[in-house]
């Protein structure tokens, strides 16, 4: 192609989803382009354009507003404006066309703008053979987001360590061999000397079989067979081997299927080494389960502090392996729980048994199992109504010991003082019930904002009935309290997602630009808040956001489709936050929630915009309900 047009082709091919098109289709797209120049402050379509066109911005900026001049979004270099493609290439959905036609987009130029304009119809015709590209233009935000998350979750499975690591990383070499004529005793001596639980029987380079500890037990000792008998008498012939090119996952599957623990590893059918089930397990050593069990064995706070340094490493590792944010949140929360329990056990040992029954509660993200490394501690104590005034010293000491211990392990003190050390949050069951009754019956917006963490509570340690009894009563009240739900809704609507992106900035409602996106407050928290409202309206006791959304799906508060959309948006935002934090942690920086648009690809920005749209739709719906 001529270099002039190849320059334009390259520009277009760099814009997702055009990057999915082969060069010959891009060339055809370029041939259909008309270049237009529009001065600032003009309406689109440009003079002389009568067809429905889509516009690729080469230079300049556009604003997209509603009839009532509410800003919907902005476009800059490399963005594709499809506002005028009313039927989106799908001629079947006339109903959709009518709805959209009523919306009548208003698009104006904010700067002098150079546009590549192309007829929507011709464009859709050219890319009709490419479903992924068509889907991008035809699908709604919700559909695109769903597709993305399906892919992410698939990748998470594929990327799990065993699946994508080669057996070459696990086996040990060489395998210990012995001739078939050696005695069983000689074999046992060799195994003991070498510290191996199995031997491969070889004659003239031929693999004859395998003998394990278990064979000596079952086929020799148990059968009363003489230890001077040849080892070939108790070996397993026809043994299963695995080629070195296989994945660790293949090895694990093979072992599971055949109920074996040892697999000789071969290269071109020649014995190369041995892989055991223990080898595979060890690789998974630095996982949450492992860390949790180490915590249980710790005997001092200083040991716990040492272990706590593993949390950021675990989070980086899980994120890099493509684990879902949900899984990471649950793992980190489980570890925090293990730390807390261990600290409580240590405290009880120090302070003596509790005077009355109680429970240690976690609030906020830890309760929701959505915690990441370096989050602050939110906790409280619920104590039996039998508590006497003099008992408060024991609980104060407990709270101080645990809270200080957690802080030493990297869980900073809660800036809002939502901690068991605060007398306000170290109360009897009766008092907690009164708190909830007051919040629900006379909701004050400010108080609610502060205490919404307490609607996400879970028992970490102690008598679980204490909290559950309070919760049952609380949920009964919230379900019927329209006033309370209305207040909660109004609070939740204070945090709005941005509109999208403009150049390398985040575009917010009033048209202003911000350098970074606050993933927590402008993305994740709005969904967490919505999920809490649905749960409290419907009497759902779960506190985990995805669980709440799943259980609320199909109730009067939330349709099944909307629930699925919110879960996709939530998972996507959480994933971005996890990756962002993993990158920070890896650089030795303090993880935060501020994502710069420069950190992410253009495609990810598109997905983010879709997630914002899902949140906005649900918030608007909430607003019209209350």
């Amino acid at each position: 192609m001529d270099s002039a047009l190849s320059e334009i082709s390259e520009f277009i091919q760099a814009i997702p989803p055009m990057d999915l098109l082969p060069s010959n289709i891009i060339e055809q797209v370029v041939k259909e382009i008309s270049i237009c120049y529009v001065r600032r402050g003009q309406f689109l379509p440009p003079q002389g354009v009568t067809e429905e066109n889509l516009y690729i911005l080469r230079k300049g900026a556009l604003s997209y507003v509603t009839e009532s001049d509410e800003l919907l979004g902005k476009y800059s270099e490399g963005d594709i404006c499809t506002a005028f493609c009313l039927n989106n290439g799908s001629h079947t959905s006339n109903k959709n066309t009518e709805v959209k036609a009523q919306l009548k987009p208003k698009v104006t130029t904010d700067e002098d703008t150079l546009l590549y304009s192309i007829s929507c119809e011709k464009f859709y015709h050219l890319v009709s053979e490419y479903p992924d590209v068509m889907a991008f233009f035809q699908q709604t935000s919700e559909q695109r987001l769903n597709k993305k998350m399906l892919k992410v979750n698939e990748d998470a499975i594929v990327n799990s360590s065993l699946l994508n690591s080669s057996i070459a990383n696990f086996y040990h070499s060489p395998a210990v061999t012995i001739g078939p004529d050696a005695s069983i005793q000689q074999a046992a001596i060799l195994m003991t000397e070498q510290g191996f639980s199995c031997l491969v029987i070889v004659k003239n380079g031929q693999l004859l079989g395998i003998v394990t500890d278990k064979d000596i037990r079952r086929r020799c000792v148990a059968q009363g067979l003489g230890i001077d008998q040849p080892v070939s008498a108790i070996m397993t012939d026809n043994m299963t081997t695995i080629d070195i090119k296989s994945t660790a996952y293949d090895a694990l599957m093979m072992m599971t299927k055949k109920h074996i623990h040892h697999l000789p590893v071969t290269i071109n059918r020649q014995l190369k080494g041995m892989v055991t089930v223990t080898d595979l397990m060890n690789n998974e050593g630095q996982n949450a389960v492992n860390i949790t069990s180490v915590i249980h064995k710790a005997t001092s706070v200083s040991e716990l502090i040492e272990i706590s340094s593993l949390i950021p490493k675990l989070q980086i590792r899980m994120a890099k392996l493509g684990t879902t944010a949900d899984h990471v949140g649950k793992s980190i929360s489980a570890i925090t729980m293990a730390f807390t329990i261990r600290l409580i056990e240590m405290a009880e040992k120090l302070l003596g048994p509790p005077p009355v029954s109680y429970a240690w509660l976690a609030a906020g993200s830890q309760a929701r199992q959505e915690q990441f490394a370096h989050s602050d501690q939110d906790n409280a104590l619920i104590i039996s109504n039998d508590m006497k005034p003099q008992h408060s010293f024991w609980f104060k000491d407990l709270a101080t010991f645990v809270s200080d211990g957690l802080a030493a392990c990297g869980f900073i003190y809660c800036p809002g003082n939502v901690m068991a050390t605060n007398p306000e949050w170290c109360q009897t069951q009766k008092k907690w019930s009164q708190y909830f009754a007051k919040w629900i019956n006379t909701p004050e917006p400010k108080a609610l904002m502060h205490c919404s963490t307490f609607f996400d509570l879970t028992t970490v340690y102690g008598d679980t009935r204490l909290l559950e009894q309070v919760r049952v009563k609380m949920l009964k009240t919230t379900q019927g309290s329209t006033l309370f739900i209305a207040h909660l809704s109004r609070n939740a609507l204070n945090l709005r997602p941005p509109l999208g992106f403009f150049r390398d900035f985040v575009l917010i409602q009033n048209g202003e630009n911000k350098a970074t996106l606050d993933l927590k407050h402008n993305g994740i928290a709005p969904i967490v808040d919505l999920a809490r409202i649905y749960a409290l309206s419907e009497g759902i006791s779960s506190v985990n956001t995805i669980e709440r959304l799943k259980q609320a799906a199909g109730t009067p508060s939330l349709s099944k489709a909307s629930a699925a959309n919110l879960i996709d948006a939530y998972e996507f935002l959480s994933m971005l936050r996890m990756m962002h934090q993993a990158n920070k942690l890896q650089k030795g920086q303090q993880p935060n929630n501020y994502l710069s648009p420069k950190e992410i690809s253009k495609l990810e920005r598109e997905h983010l915009k879709d997630a914002f749209k899902v949140i906005k739709t649900m918030q608007d719906h909430r607003q019209s309900t209350y």
Partner: protein
């Protein structure tokens, strides 16, 4: 302000010249070109058919130097139609001067894949018939095209032209402030109008770049302006 009267004469001049030459022109591409009337001076700009053209040459002298390549693209209703774009390298005798190879990126090998001058000029005349030619710095395109026509057909026809350099120059002259001639270069003018960087010294690329510049220039002018405000 532009004086309408002499301009009118000039355009009548184009048309009169065209008709006069049509009678003498030999059968073939030149005659075909001359048989299509040019747009009148009062044609609104938006309805004027325009072909943006750029030549790459071995030098500035139309008699000694050679045409290396031709690029063109149509501009109609304020839209540059990329589907109409054309780029062709021309076969020339002799090897290229090293200096020019670096400027035009046309190597001897590529040049050999080119088409004969006659074929390219014939095609260009077909595309130019009834249109106004758009160029940046008209001297090169006018002289080389006229010289080629003289060599091929024994006479050079008139070519009505819009020159983005002249449009820019008029604008600067009106301000009555001294300016550096380098401000009138295509690249400099594009920067001034906030147009993106382009890969210069490819004939088609420059033709598109020139057309984009004209769109930016006329966006500052009256919407209902006619050809007479722009034509040379």
């Amino acid at each position: 302000m532009l004086n309408h009267h002499p301009l009118t004469r000039w355009l009548i001049g184009y048309e009169a010249q065209r008709k006069r030459m049509l009678k003498r022109a030999p059968e073939g591409p030149l005659r075909d070109f001359l048989s299509v009337p040019f747009p009148t001076l009062y044609t609104p700009f938006d309805h004027t058919p325009i072909l943006s053209v750029d030549f790459e040459t071995t030098g500035l002298d139309a008699i000694q130097d050679k045409l290396l390549s031709v690029g063109c693209v149509e501009l109609n209703h304020r839209q540059i139609k990329l589907g109409t774009s054309y780029h062709q390298i021309i076969q020339t005798e002799g090897s290229l001067k090293a200096d020019n190879v670096t400027i035009h990126q046309i190597t001897d090998d590529q040049k050999d894949q080119g088409k004969p001058l006659a074929e390219v000029v014939e095609y260009l005349l077909k595309r130019l018939a009834g249109k106004v030619m758009l160029v940046h710095f008209s001297r090169i395109e006018r002289q080389f095209l006229q010289q080629a026509c003289v060599e091929l057909y024994g006479m050079a026809p008139p070519f009505p032209m819009i020159d983005t350099l002249v449009v820019a120059k008029k604008r600067l002259d009106k301000r009555d402030v001294a300016y550096d001639p380098s401000e009138l270069r295509l690249t400099a003018l594009r920067v001034k109008y906030g147009l993106p960087n382009h890969y210069a010294h490819n004939a088609l690329n420059d033709a598109i770049a020139t057309a984009e510049l004209l769109l930016a220039q006329i966006s500052e002018l009256n919407e209902d302006m006619s050809l007479q405000q722009l034509i040379l």
